[in-house]
Symmetry: C2
Subunit: 233 residues, 2 copies
């Protein structure tokens, strides 16, 4: 009538999932302690801990010392998005990747950019405007500012062959980044680069990359109509 032995943490995880799904343990309910479950499952507490920790990371369980473990009442879906280098993204779709630099200049960025990067409004940076293509058709437009104070090496790069995206990844260490997603109507310049109608709804990814307290680069990627970012939960 009872458990046919749970030998590894994944099978424990499965069993717990089953009980949640079968409503044996209802949302908000307190489940037995690790020690009790270990006894019931006939395995070490460490193994139970591994399984429960995994489920907590997925948002299905709420765990607190002394308070115990509860089934999350309103599980927050944790979507994991893998933001790869654009070249890889295109190649994984089985398409031929292409890159074309439209302009590369040194100048003072708009206030929005210098603010976000937390530098003086008069700070001079490299401005890159480029387009990434898939099988020859425009895939995404890249609008990037690079702080030459933080990355002096960028001044020597033309970014004609190698995109700033990949050059930075290979040459400049970073500590963390902020990413945001939004929608935006295509302006004239973007519409031309993406070969789409003016005011088309574009998918936008903004990324700000830091090395400690210094902003390295801020990039805005505009994706043409039809672009979709997918994930599993």
């Amino acid at each position: 009538m009872n458990s046919p032995a749970f030998r590894d943490w994944q099978s424990v995880r499965e069993e717990v999932l089953r009980r949640i799904h079968a409503r044996e343990w209802r949302p908000g309910a307190l489940i037995p302690s690790e020690t009790d479950l270990a006894r019931e499952f006939g395995c070490a507490r460490t193994t139970v801990n591994r399984a429960l920790r995994s489920l907590a990371e997925s948002g299905l369980l709420d765990r607190r010392r002394k308070a115990g473990t509860r089934i999350a009442a309103q599980p927050v879906a944790k979507a994991r998005l893998d933001i790869a280098v654009i070249r890889k993204e295109v190649e994984e779709r089985g398409q031929a990747y292409g890159y074309r630099l439209i302009s590369r200049q040194v100048g003072v960025p708009p206030a929005g950019v210098s603010d976000a990067m937390k530098v003086s409004p008069s700070r001079r940076m490299i401005h890159i405007y480029a387009v990434h293509t898939a099988d020859g058709t425009p895939y995404a437009v890249e609008d990037r500012w690079i702080d030459t104070g933080v990355v002096p090496g960028a001044l020597a790069e033309s970014f004609v062959q190698l995109s700033a995206n990949e050059w930075l990844l290979a040459n400049v260490p970073y500590t963390h980044g902020e990413i945001s997603f939004s929608a935006q109507a295509a302006g004239a310049q973007a519409a031309r680069a993406l070969e789409c109608a003016d005011h088309s709804a574009l998918f936008v990814i903004d990324r700000l990359t830091w090395d400690g307290a210094s902003a390295i680069t801020k990039v805005r990627l505009l994706f043409g109509p039809g672009y979709t970012l997918r994930t599993q939960v």
Copy 2:
């Protein structure tokens, strides 16, 4: 000259991060085995394993049995998005949440929906059209289909007070889901519900929720201009 003792997995993680960042270990390089690191750090191999596993999950390391552990050459940014219930999302912004049902009908969904849900094109479902508000202004429009064959209980719900979103979460167990993000121009109906201009660029979240092999519901959320989804990497 050497390590002031690394007692827990988080400090080991910090040290490995430091070495990657300082380029002591370059992208693509093979790092010492867990056993060697454990000896160097003066801790158990388990502890090193925990730290390296954590970094591998973040995409900074590539690990393979026998082949060893390498610094990822092109780290894939793993963005973690927390998709909460809309009500919570609004409340966390410090705004007052509101919900208004626009229509609730039973009928046959468009082919795109029945295809995605893998049911017969003639399958009858509940169709919900509703708007979520923040401080009285439209925040998102919900366009949802619920398979009554899978969730018969939904037929008894009016969804006037409680959004389908929350009712389903509380009452219907699911096993997994697919989420996708895109941009789309506002149609007439959406523009009216969101009180924005026709053809405005809207941020779109599509979610398809499964219970094993049966699709429970498919929902499309349209967010008004200015909406941004943020995350850290």
